[in-house]
C-alpha cells in the first residue's frame, strides 16, 4: 500500500468543526462535559475521547480584528515519530501506509509517548478494572479501519470546503505546493521530523506558531536515546527493572526541565 497523507488547508477551513464531530461519530467517542469558557473552542484540550480538536485564534492588527484562525490539532503521524521511538512496549508503530498506528492491548500506560511528542498529542486516561487501575494511551488513528479499506478518514469525508484532502503523500505534497503558490502560503510538515503525514497549507503572513505548530519540532534526544541506545543496552544488561527505573528517572528529569522552561 502506498504512503498516504492528509492535507489540511487552513486557507480553506471555515472552522465549522464537522471534522471534530465526524471523528467522534466514526470512532464512537463520547461527548465530553464542557462549559463555555469565553470561546467557541471546546473541548479545552485533546483527550483520550477527543482525538481531533479545532483551535480558534483571533488575530488583530491595530486593535481591530484582522483574521480568525482555525487550526487542526491532532496526531501529525510523523515519519520520525518520538512516540514510536519512546514506546517501551512497541504498542506504537509505523503502519506500512506511513501513519503512526498503535495496538492498545500492548500499551502499558507509561506516558512516554505524550512526554516526548513534539506536538503534545497523545493522551492517557486511567480506568478502574478488576485488576486495578489501567492506564491507556489514545490518539488519532488516521482512521486505519477506513483507510486500509480504501476509504478516506472520517474527518476528510465530512469536510464541506475541501480544506481536508486525503491522498498519496507525494500527491498531497504536490497539491500543497500548488496551493501555497496560489495563495502565497507556506507548506508545513514536508520535512520536519522526517516529514509528517498531515501536511498544512498556511497563510504566509501568519506565524505557524499561531497555529500551534512548533517552528522546528524535534524528536527529543532522550526518546532517541531510549530506543537506539538504552533499550538495546538494556537487553544486554538484562535488567528490565533497572532499565525502567532509569527511564522513569530520565522522564521525571525531563519533565522538571520542561516545567522550568515554562513549556
Amino acid at each position: 500500500m502506498s504512503e498516504k497523507a492528509i492535507l489540511f488547508d487552513a486557507t480553506k477551513c471555515m472552522g465549522c468543526r464537522a471534522c471534530q464531530v465526524a471523528c467522534k461519530g466514526w470512532n464512537e467517542l463520547p461527548g465530553e462535559e464542557t462549559s463555555n469558557r469565553g470561546t467557541y473552542e471546546n473541548p479545552p484540550d485533546l483527550s483520550t475521547t477527543t482525538w481531533l480538536k479545532m483551535k480558534f485564534g483571533e488575530v488583530s492588527s491595530n486593535g481591530s480584528i484582522a483574521t480568525w484562525l482555525f487550526t487542526r490539532r491532532a496526531c501529525m503521524h510523523c515519519t520520525d515519530a518520538a512516540c514510536v521511538k519512546a514506546c517501551p512496549t512497541k504498542a506504537l508503530y509505523y503502519h506500512e501506509m506511513g501513519f503512526v498506528a498503535y495496538n492498545k492491548d500492548l500499551c502499558s500506560g507509561c506516558g512516554y509517548c505524550q512526554e516526548f511528542c513534539p506536538f503534545d498529542v497523545p493522551r492517557l486516561a486511567s480506568t478502574k478494572t478488576d485488576d486495578g487501575v489501567l492506564s491507556k494511551m489514545d490518539k488519532c488513528t488516521f482512521c486505519a479501519d477506513r483507510v486500509t479499506r480504501g476509504e478516506v478518514p472520517a474527518c476528510v469525508k465530512t469536510c464541506p470546503t475541501g480544506a481536508l484532502v486525503f491522498d498519496d503523500r507525494d500527491r498531497i505534497l504536490e497539491m500543497a505546493d500548488d496551493r501555497a503558490a496560489e495563495v502565497n502560503g507556506v507548506v508545513y510538515g514536508k520535512d520536519v521530523v522526517g516529514g509528517t503525514h498531515v501536511i498544512y497549507v498556511l497563510d504566509r503572513e501568519v506565524d505557524p506558531e499561531l497555529h500551534g505548530l512548533p517552528k522546528d519540532p524535534k524528536v527529543p534526544a532522550l526518546a532517541t536515546a531510549w530506543k537506539d541506545i538504552l533499550q538495546p543496552a538494556g537487553y544486554v544488561l538484562g535488567g528490565v527493572v533497572a532499565l525502567g527505573l532509569a527511564m522513569n528517572y530520565m522522564v521525571a528529569r525531563a519533565r522538571m526541565v520542561k516545567e522550568k522552561e515554562g513549556r
Binding site: 464531530v21 461519530g25 462535559e33 464542557t34 469565553g38 473541548p43 482555525f70 464541506p160
Partner: protein, 808 residues
C-alpha cells in the same frame, strides 16, 4: 433561490449580507470556495466578524438594520458610474429587460418630496393608496427614458440622497470600505460577468425586511445579474425543507404554489381569480412587444388545487367548482393570521387550541415570555416533535416565564413522537428549488411515527367525527375532502403533480385545465412525476449534461418549475438569443432552438420572433420585464431608509419619518426601549453547532460538547467599559425581559468604526438556540425580542433591538 447552490461557483463576485453562510449554511461554502478558486472575490457585510468574514476577501462592518442605506448607496454609486462609463454595464439588459424606461403616474411623490414617505399614505390606517405608484398607462406603459417620471429618472432622484458620506454616517461603515465594495461588486455589471447576493434572516427579520431584499433586486437588475449563471438573489433557507414548506403553504397568506389565500370578498372561483390574477400589461416602445403574464393561468392552478382536494371532475361543472371553492377557509375582513397575531389571539382567549408541528415558539417566537404565557390560555395543545420541546413543557416549573403554578394551568397537552428525517421517506425541496427524494434509513424509536401517518390518522378521525355530527361547522369541507392517498407517500407525490380524470399523471402545468377536470396539489410541481419518466425527485445522475457544464446537474433530482435550474434565464441572453456570458451560457438560441437549461418559455428570441410575438423575458411579471420600480409592496415602490422599531438613534438621519410607516405592530408589544435605558444594539443569530430552537442539537452530546452553554458576544471595548471579563456571567436586558448568559468577549464585535448620529454604536450578539428542556439548557434570547415585524410579511424584527448588559 433564483439560482441554486452549485451555481454559486460560477460567480465572479459573491456578496454575503444578512447571512453568516459559513456557520449556518456550511455546505454553501463548498461552492463559495470553488468560486474563490476560480478567482471570485467574496464580500461579507455584517456587524460581526464571523467565520464567514474570516474567509471573505472584504469584511465590512455595518450597523444592524441599515441594509437599505448601504445598498441604496451602492445603487447610487452604480447609477453615477453608469452615466460616466456606460460601456462597463449591460445597458441593453437594463433598458430592455427591466421597467427602467417605463413611465410612472405623474402624481407620484417620493420620500425626498414628502419627508420620508411616498404619496398615498394614510397614517391612521398605516397603509398606502398605491394609485400614484402605478404606470402612467396601467395597461400599456410607455418606455421613455427622457420622461421625468421614467423609473430610471425616479430611481436616480430617489437614490441621489444616498451619497457615500450619508451612507457611511448611517451605517457606521468606513467610507473607503464602502467605496471598495462598490467598485468590487459593480464590476459584475460588465457583460459576461456575474455577481450573486446571498442573504438569510439577517436581511428578512426587520420591520422593512422585504424592502431590504427589494434593494438587492434593484442592484442586481442594474448589474444585469438576474437569470445569469453565478448571479441571482439567493435566499439561504434556514432548514433543509423551508423552500418546500413555503411552496406548500407554510405561510398563512398563500396556498400551495403561491396562490393567494381566499379572503372574504372572494365569493366564488371567478371572483377569486379576478381579485388575485394580475391583468396583462404590455409595455410600448421596448424591443419586446409581448408579455406572457404567466399568472393569467391562475384559474387553471386554483381549479386544479381544488380538484386535488375535493376530487377530479369527469366533465366541467362550474356550480360544483364554486361550491368546492367555498369549502376553503377565507380571511375575514381586516384580519391577519401571521405568527404574532395568532399568539395575541391565544392570549385573548379567542384561539383555544394549537398544533405545533416541528415548531417550538416558546424558544423561537418573538417576545417569548409573552408567547409562553399565551399558551397558558389554551384549552389544548398538540406538539409533534422528536423531543419534549419547551413549548410542550411550557406548564412545567422549568419555564421561568410562567404566570402561575402548574396546578393552575388547565391546558391539556399532547406530545406525539415524530420521526427524524432518516426514519421516514418522501421529498424535501432545498433552497435551490430541487425536490429530492429521501429514503428511509432506519426504523424510528418507540412509538414515533412519520408525519404523513400522523396526518392520515388525524384526517380519518376528523372525517368520522364530522360525519357523525350533522351540525358540525363547515361540515362538507371535511367529509367531502378527497383523501385517496392515505399514508402512501408515492400517492401523495402523484397528487401533488396532478392527475387527469382518467387517473393519469398530468405531463406538466401547461396541460392543467381551469374547470376541475385535472388536479394538481401544487401547479409548480406539475412535471415532477410523469407517466414516462416516473418520480423525477428520485433521479440521481451525477453528470452535468449542460453543453458548457455550468453545474446544472439537471438529471439530479428535479427542480421547479419544469426542471428549470436558473429562473428568469431568458434574461441571460441578448435580443438575438446569444448569451451575455459566452463561457457560462445558461441557455443559447442555436439552429432555431434553445439549448442548455429549460428556457423561461420556449418562444424564439425577441429579434427572431415575428412582430406581436416578441416575448419579454420576465414571464411571471404582468409587464414581462423585471421591476426595478415595484409598486406591489405595502411600504413603497422603492426601498427607503427607516430606523428599526427600537433604534439607538432619536431620529432617522435621512428624513423626518423614523420608522417604516406601515410596519407590523403587535398589539401587545409595549413601548420600545429607549436608548438611554438600553444603549446597545442587540441582534440574535445561530451558530453552526446548534440548530434553530435547539431540540435537534441540544440533545446531542457531541454538539453540546462543542457549544455547551448559552452565551452572548460582546466587544472587548464594551466589556472593558462594563468590567466584564471573558467567560464571566452577564445579564442582558431589554424592554421585554432579562436573560443570563456567559460572556464571550471578542474583538470580532468591537464598536463600529464610525460614529452614527454622533454616537458610538456597540452591538451585542445573542444566539437564540437555548431553552429550558433538553441536555443543554439555558436562557432564551427571544425573551428579549419585540412583537413587531415587516410591513409586508409580518416576520418579526429579531435582528435589531435595544438592550443593556451588565455583569451578573
Amino acid at each position: 433561490m433564483t439560482n441554486h447552490w452549485c451555481d454559486i461557483a460560477n460567480a465572479d463576485v459573491v456578496l454575503i449580507i444578512g447571512s453568516n453562510a459559513a456557520e449556518n449554511h456550511p455546505i454553501s461554502f463548498k461552492w463559495i470556495t470553488e468560486a474563490q478558486l476560480r478567482g471570485a472575490k467574496v464580500i461579507h457585510v455584517d456587524p460581526r466578524f464571523t467565520r464567514t468574514s474570516a474567509k471573505a476577501d472584504i469584511w465590512a462592518p455595518i450597523r444592524s438594520g441599515t441594509d437599505i442605506a448601504f445598498i441604496g448607496g451602492m445603487i447610487n454609486w452604480v447609477l453615477d458610474d453608469m452615466e460616466a462609463h456606460p460601456e462597463n454595464y449591460n445597458m441593453e439588459y437594463v433598458n430592455q429587460y427591466t421597467n427602467a424606461q417605463l413611465v410612472i403616474n405623474n402624481g407620484i411623490k417620493l420620500p425626498v418630496d414628502l419627508d420620508g414617505v411616498f404619496s398615498g399614505l394614510d397614517e391612521d390606517a398605516r397603509s398606502y393608496d398605491k394609485t400614484t405608484w402605478k404606470y402612467a398607462d396601467t395597461t400599456n406603459p410607455v418606455a421613455d427614458l427622457n420622461s421625468d417620471y421614467s423609473v430610471f429618472k425616479l430611481l436616480k432622484r430617489h437614490y441621489s440622497r444616498y451619497d457615500p458620506d450619508t451612507v457611511s454616517g448611517i451605517t457606521g461603515m468606513p467610507k473607503d470600505k464602502f467605496l471598495e465594495i462598490c467598485r468590487t461588486y459593480a464590476a459584475s455589471g460588465q457583460k459576461g460577468k456575474s455577481g450573486t447576493i446571498m442573504y438569510a434572516m439577517g436581511t428578512t427579520q426587520h420591520t422593512y425586511g422585504t424592502q431590504n431584499i427589494r434593494a438587492y433586486a434593484i442592484l442586481q437588475l442594474l448589474l444585469g445579474n438576474i437569470g445569469v449563471a453565478g448571479g441571482g438573489i439567493n435566499a439561504l433557507r434556514g432548514e433543509s425543507n423551508v423552500q418546500g414548506s413555503t411552496d406548500m403553504c407554510l405561510l398563512w397568506h398563500i396556498l400551495p404554489g403561491y396562490l393567494a389565500v381566499p379572503h372574504h370578498l372572494d365569493t366564488d372561483l371567478d371572483t377569486y381569480v379576478a381579485n388575485h390574477a394580475p391583468g396583462t400589461i404590455t409595455p410600448v416602445g421596448l424591443a419586446g412587444d409581448k408579455s406572457s403574464n404567466w399568472w393569467s393561468n391562475y384559474k387553471k392552478y386554483i381549479a386544479s388545487l381544488v380538484a386535488a382536494w375535493y376530487g377530479v371532475l369527469s366533465a366541467p361543472d362550474p356550480a360544483l367548482m364554486d361550491t368546492r371553492f367555498n369549502y376553503l377557509p377565507k380571511v375575514k375582513k381586516g384580519e391577519n393570521y401571521s405568527h404574532m397575531r395568532l399568539f395575541e389571539k391565544m392570549n385573548d382567549g379567542i384561539i383555544k387550541g394549537l398544533m405545533c408541528w416541528g415548531q417550538n415558539p416558546a424558544v423561537g417566537g418573538p417576545m417569548a415570555g409573552f408567547e409562553r404565557k399565551a399558551l397558558e390560555k389554551l384549552d389544548w395543545l398538540v406538539c409533534v416533535d422528536l423531543w419534549e420541546t419547551e413549548t410542550a413543557a411550557f406548564w412545567k416549573p422549568e419555564n421561568p416565564s410562567r404566570s402561575k403554578p402548574t396546578s393552575e394551568i388547565d391546558t391539556e397537552v399532547w406530545l406525539l413522537p415524530a420521526c427524524a428525517s432518516y426514519e421516514k421517506e418522501g421529498t424535501i425541496t432545498n433552497s435551490g428549488r430541487w425536490a429530492q427524494y429521501r429514503y428511509k434509513a432506519v426504523d424510528p424509536p418507540g412509538e414515533a411515527e412519520d408525519d404523513l401517518w400522523i396526518v392520515d390518522k388525524l384526517v380519518q378521525k376528523l372525517k368520522e367525527l364530522y360525519k357523525a355530527d350533522p351540525d358540525a361547522p363547515n361540515r362538507d369541507a371535511i367529509i367531502k375532502l378527497s383523501w385517496t392517498h392515505g399514508a402512501d407517500v408515492d400517492k401523495v407525490n402523484r397528487e401533488i403533480n396532478g392527475l387527469d380524470s382518467n387517473g393519469k399523471l398530468v405531463a406538466n402545468f401547461t396541460k392543467l385545465k381551469d374547470d376541475g377536470t385535472t388536479s394538481s396539489g401544487n401547479w409548480l410541481y406539475c412535471d415532477m412525476y410523469t407517466e414516462e419518466e416516473g418520480n423525477r425527485a428520485k433521479w440521481r445522475d451525477p453528470v452535468d449534461h449542460h453543453p458548457h457544464q455550468i453545474g446544472l446537474y439537471s438529471n439530479w433530482a428535479w427542480c421547479w418549475p419544469l426542471n428549470r435550474r436558473i429562473i428568469y434565464n431568458r434574461a441571460s441572453v441578448d435580443l438575438d438569443g446569444k448569451a451575455w456570458d459566452e463561457d457560462q451560457p445558461v441557455i443559447e438560441w442555436r439552429g432555431g432552438t434553445w439549448i442548455g437549461d429549460v428556457p423561461d418559455g420556449g418562444w424564439p428570441p425577441i429579434n427572431v420572433a415575428p412582430v406581436g410575438s416578441k416575448y419579454l423575458p420576465f414571464i411571471m411579471k404582468p409587464e414581462g420585464v423585471a421591476r426595478i420600480w415595484g409598486y406591489g409592496r405595502a411600504d413603497g415602490p422603492l426601498p427607503e431608509v427607516y430606523e428599526p422599531w427600537e433604534s439607538p438613534l432619536d431620529a432617522n438621519l435621512m428624513s423626518g419619518t423614523k420608522n417604516d410607516p406601515t410596519c407590523f405592530l403587535g398589539e401587545d408589544r409595549g413601548d420600545p426601549g429607549s436608548p438611554t435605558s438600553y444603549p446597545y444594539v442587540a441582534m440574535t443569530y445561530r451558530v453552526t453547532e446548534e440548530w434553530q430552537a435547539g431540540q435537534m442539537t441540544r440533545n446531542l452530546p457531541w454538539l453540546v460538547e462543542l457549544m455547551p452553554e448559552m452565551f452572548v458576544e460582546i466587544g472587548e471595548d464594551l466589556a472593558e467599559a462594563k468590567g466584564i471579563g471573558n467567560g464571566h456571567r452577564v445579564k442582558v436586558k431589554s424592554a421585554r425581559g432579562e436573560i443570563a448568559a456567559v460572556a464571550v468577549v471578542t474583538k470580532r464585535l468591537n464598536k463600529l468604526p464610525g460614529k452614527v448620529g454622533g454616537k458610538d454604536i456597540y452591538h451585542v450578539g445573542i444566539p437564540w438556540h437555548w431553552g429550558y428542556t433538553g441536555l443543554s439548557t439555558g436562557a432564551s434570547a427571544n425573551i428579549l425580542t419585540p412583537h413587531v415585524g415587516d410591513a409586508n410579511t409580518a416576520i418579526p424584527e429579531f435582528k435589531t433591538f435595544l438592550c443593556d448588559v451588565e455583569k451578573a
